[in-house]
């Protein structure tokens, strides 16, 4: 691909929505209100696993100010699904059951009833008057318990799905099994000079977005529904509400507010259908806002995991065999990212022989939601820890060893296709050349490196670009701006039309206004929606070219865009070229306004790779690990707005560091979450972290006109192992269980000393 010279792409303009966001003007989910609005509150199960014997709402209903109450009975059972492009489907039956339990509660925090009242205080008071009689059941709180022969069964009708079809035995908590294989792994392990192995465990962790879920819903007397909410996918909210409630999606309008973080966790619906039904019953708009405790107990987390892996290498450093079994917690309903985990585990290396099996296991914890590169961080934690051990055993430089085995263009990915141009080797070269890699370490400090892979998504997007007579433009899409996508979208219009980025107005539109667009997720917004925008802007240019032909009265093929002007190609034609501004100013005379539109169905996305270098200082007295230096290197294909690409890399690294060192869902034996708050669920704060250095590598993605790759997810893949490898360097202990909290690290150091 010839290196295109860009004018706007690669620069760092101020984001259009920035001033609103630094002054407090921007409206997020909880900031919206309607006249006559009621306030909703949700009653949640205190039990990890119980049968609902009865729910008595009569006392609550009699309370002055209470206008409507719903329970699971108000939500029809459905077997409909919402398809997410190639990403599989969301089961709306499960999603409906998750947002209001019908027969059983399956986790601490599972919703059982909701009230709408004239004030939040009255709604909360009413919850205390609802009597739910439970028959408590033993909860399955660990993979081991959920997989035991005498395990408590969450869903009696659950059957294990998968390829090859597993034996259909009795009741099970295993929702799915998949396997991937190549070559003869047993023979290769037997022939390998070095075999390392380990059992790796990670706890359930939360995305940790700072904005709790919120929504306002209005069910009109005409049957039309309007929902205001922070979401990664307004169209998905529309279709999920329609499917769950059995109403026509054409009657639902979803208006996205600004969104205060999601990381995948604001894809499912939790509140919206509840608010719609409460509004329908009460005839008033209803607002529901979760508190933090509800966010932790009932939304989001990603799977706890167990990965058992063996890795075999030859003395010359070639990785020749990998064998792995992995179990991922799905939470209360099927659907962990165990399949993606298996596909990502070995995606960085050319390993000729492997066998991987993965299992999706339901447990009595909240249903997991996507979290940045779902599934990949945990399986990669195992792989990259073991690659580090191979390097140690062979006394090889960990970068050299990785480079020797790294995938490049033409190699077959373990999940099937052949890679196109990819950046892993360039990334590893950049790691080796970075001053961080060779900087001296202090005592009790260690350095770790790790790589990571994520597929990235394409899917469906629409965009319109409207040119104004003053030469400014509006670009409309259906992707909520979760981290600077408005400005990136405006930059693409600027690049195509040659107008200043401040004169492009990016608009995030609602579902009645924008053409169908899939989620702001899967690292797809800049990539796929970006392509729709570029095509729409090119549509504008083409229409302007035809206008010029009309003005000049020449054949359309005698007019072309050159250097930002429209020129006549007619020989001897002396008429000066027309600028976009000149063409825009005369639109009314040449045929009216010009609006370009385009849609894409992007089947392919260029995969993303990244590597991180982490320096850890371990306090041998307390076991506390402090990250003292951190560098993230990533292939962005082409960074549209480098500051926001760096921001994704830094944010993903920080989340991964939190996952590695501190974060974990802690449950008691009865299945109650012990730490549903930011005090005890300890996410990194500013004083926990150093600056996070970044290097953006650009290996153009051939499926995008600018070479763009999605950047949002892969940053969280390398940190778990990068941190663990650094702690290994600092302490001599190979930690295989996260988080590496001070007590665990201290115990590890002590066991090494006593050994």
């Amino acid at each position: 691909m010839s290196a295109r010279q860009f004018t706007h792409i690669g620069t760092r303009p101020v984001r259009h929505d920035g001033a609103d966001k630094v002054t407090g003007r921007a409206n997020f989910g909880a900031d919206f209100a309607l006249p006559g609005m009621l306030h909703g509150a949700v009653l949640r199960s205190p039990h990890g696993h119980a049968r609902i014997l009865s729910i008595d709402t009569s006392t609550a209903a009699a309370l002055p100010g209470v206008k409507a109450i719903v329970t699971g009975r108000d939500f029809p059972k459905t077997d409909s699904k919402v398809w997410l492009g190639g990403e599989g489907a969301l089961d709306l039956g499960d999603m409906g059951d998750n947002l209001m339990a019908r027969d059983k509660v399956l986790y601490d925090g599972h919703a059982v009833a909701a009230v709408a009242a004239t004030s939040l205080a009255v709604a909360r008071e009413a919850l205390t008057h609802i009597t739910v009689v439970y028959e408590t059941l033993e909860p399955a709180m660990s993979l081991a318990r959920a997989l035991a022969d005498d395990a408590p069964i969450l869903h009696t009708d659950l059957k294990t799905s998968g390829q090859p079809a597993p034996e259909s035995g009795g009741p099970t908590n295993v929702a799915a099994r998949m396997e991937l294989s190549r070559g003869d792994v047993e023979q290769a392990l037997a022939d390998a000079d070095v075999v390392v192995e380990g059992e790796f465990q990670t706890p359930m962790v939360h995305q940790g977005y700072i904005e709790p879920h919120a929504c306002v819903a209005r069910h009109g007397t005409d049957g039309r529904v309007v929902v205001w909410c922070p979401t990664q996918g307004p169209f998905l909210v529309r279709d999920a509400c329609a499917g769950i409630l059995g109403i026509d999606a054409a009657t639902i309008r979803v208006i996205p507010s600004e969104i205060g973080g999601g990381f995948g966790g604001k894809i499912p619906v939790y509140l919206e259908p509840v608010a719609i039904v409460l509004s329908q019953k009460s005839g008033r708009p209803v607002k529901i806002v979760m508190d933090r405790d509800e966010v932790f107990r009932a939304t989001g987390p990603t799977s706890g995991s167990r990965v058992v892996m063996q890795l075999g290498a030859m003395r010359d450093g070639r990785l020749v065999a990998a064998k792995a079994s992995m179990w991922y917690e799905a939470g209360a309903y099927p659907g962990s990212p165990s399949g993606a985990a298996a596909m990502c585990a070995l995606a960085c290396y050319t390993i000729p022989n492997f066998f991987i099996e993965s299992f999706d296991v339901v447990v009595n914890k909240p249903k997991v939601a996507a979290y940045r590169a779902p599934g990949s961080p945990m399986s990669t934690f195992a792989t990259e820890s073991l690659v580090d051990e191979v390097a140690r055993r062979l006394e090889r430089d960990p970068i050299d060893l990785r480079l020797q085995n790294a995938v490049s263009e033409g190699d077959q990915a373990p999940y099937g296709p052949k890679y196109g141009p990819i950046g892993l080797k360039a990334i590893l070269d950049a790691v080796r050349e970075h001053p961080h890699w060779t900087a001296p370490l202090g005592t009790h400090q260690g350095r770790g490196v790790a790589c990571g892979f994520w597929f990235n998504a394409g899917m469906n997007s629409s965009a319109t670009v409207a040119l104004d007579t003053d030469g400014s433009a509006t670009v409309v899409t259906g992707n909520p701006d979760i981290g600077g996508t408005r400005v990136a979208q405006a930059m693409m219009v600027s690049e195509e039309l040659g107008i200043p980025v401040e004169r492009v107005r990016p608009v995030v539109a609602d579902t009645d206004t924008a053409g169908y667009t899939d989620l702001t997720a899967g690292s797809r917004t800049c990539y796929a929606t970006g392509m729709a925008i570029i095509n729409a802007a090119q549509d504008v240019k083409e229409q302007l070219r035809l206008r010029a032909a009309k003005v000049w009265d020449v054949e359309p093929d005698q007019v072309a865009w050159e250097d930002g002007h429209v020129r006549s190609l007619v020989e001897g034609d002396e008429r000066p070229p027309l600028t976009l501004n000149e063409l825009a100013a005369t639109l009314a005379k040449t045929g009216g306004p010009v609006v370009g539109s385009a849609s894409v169905n992007a089947r392919m996305a260029g995969p993303a790779f990244a590597a991180n270098i982490c320096d850890i200082d371990v306090d041998l007295e307390t076991g506390r690990s402090t990250v003292v230096r951190y560098t993230a290197i990533q292939d962005a294909g082409k960074a549209v707005h480098p500051s926001f690409v760096e921001g994704q890399m830094q944010g993903g690294a920080a989340q991964g560091i939190g996952w590695a060192l501190n974060e974990a869902y802690l449950y008691d034996d009865d299945g109650r979450l012990q730490n549903p708050g930011f005090l005890d669920y300890r996410m990194p704060v500013a004083s926990d972290l150093p600056m996070i250095d970044t290097v953006i590598v650009e290996v153009a993605n051939p499926s995008h006109p600018y070479g763009v790759r999605g950047v949002g997810e892969v940053p969280i893949v390398p940190p778990l192992a990068a941190v663990a490898n650094a702690v290994r360097g600092a302490t001599g202990v190979r930690f295989t269980e996260l988080p590496m909290s001070p007590p665990r690290v201290l115990a590890g150091i002590e066991s090494l000393e006593s050994a």
């Binding site: 630094v22 909880a30 900031d31 700072i210 005090l679 500013a686 926990d688």
Partner: protein, 160 residues
Amino acid sequence: MSRIHVETTINGEPAEFLCSGEDTLLTALRDTLSLTGTKEGCSTGDCGACSVLLDGRLVPGCLVLAAEVEGRTVTTVEGIADRDSLHPVQQAFLNQAALQCGICTPGFMVAAKALLDANPDPTEQEARYWLAGNLCRCTGYDKIIRAVLDAAADMRKATA
């Protein structure tokens, strides 16, 4: 339910409102006075999204009772910018791209202003510890800290 009448000063303007004895300042600001710039991330004092200044002192609005602000002065994110120009820390956040989703940003604006009022020349370490009560899940804090240090330098230059 009996209500408490509160007279106070918010962002330099006299303000009054009614509240219950249990209402927090955060609730009064957001729900009663429609000053929704101040955000709610936890209501337990752990995230800093609700940061406001009470008589110039940085406090979480969710841990202050609304009735406590009687006769005092409150500054919220809506009161940080001048009529005509952004506060240097707001401008620095824009220049550094120090916000992604932006939900934590109002809290950081207020906390950073308090820092720079108290210490015009903070070290990176001082900025990190001062802002440790403000959670940001998107940025990893790198650009936030750079923006705050940039703003400090700009403000020192302006007063030099």
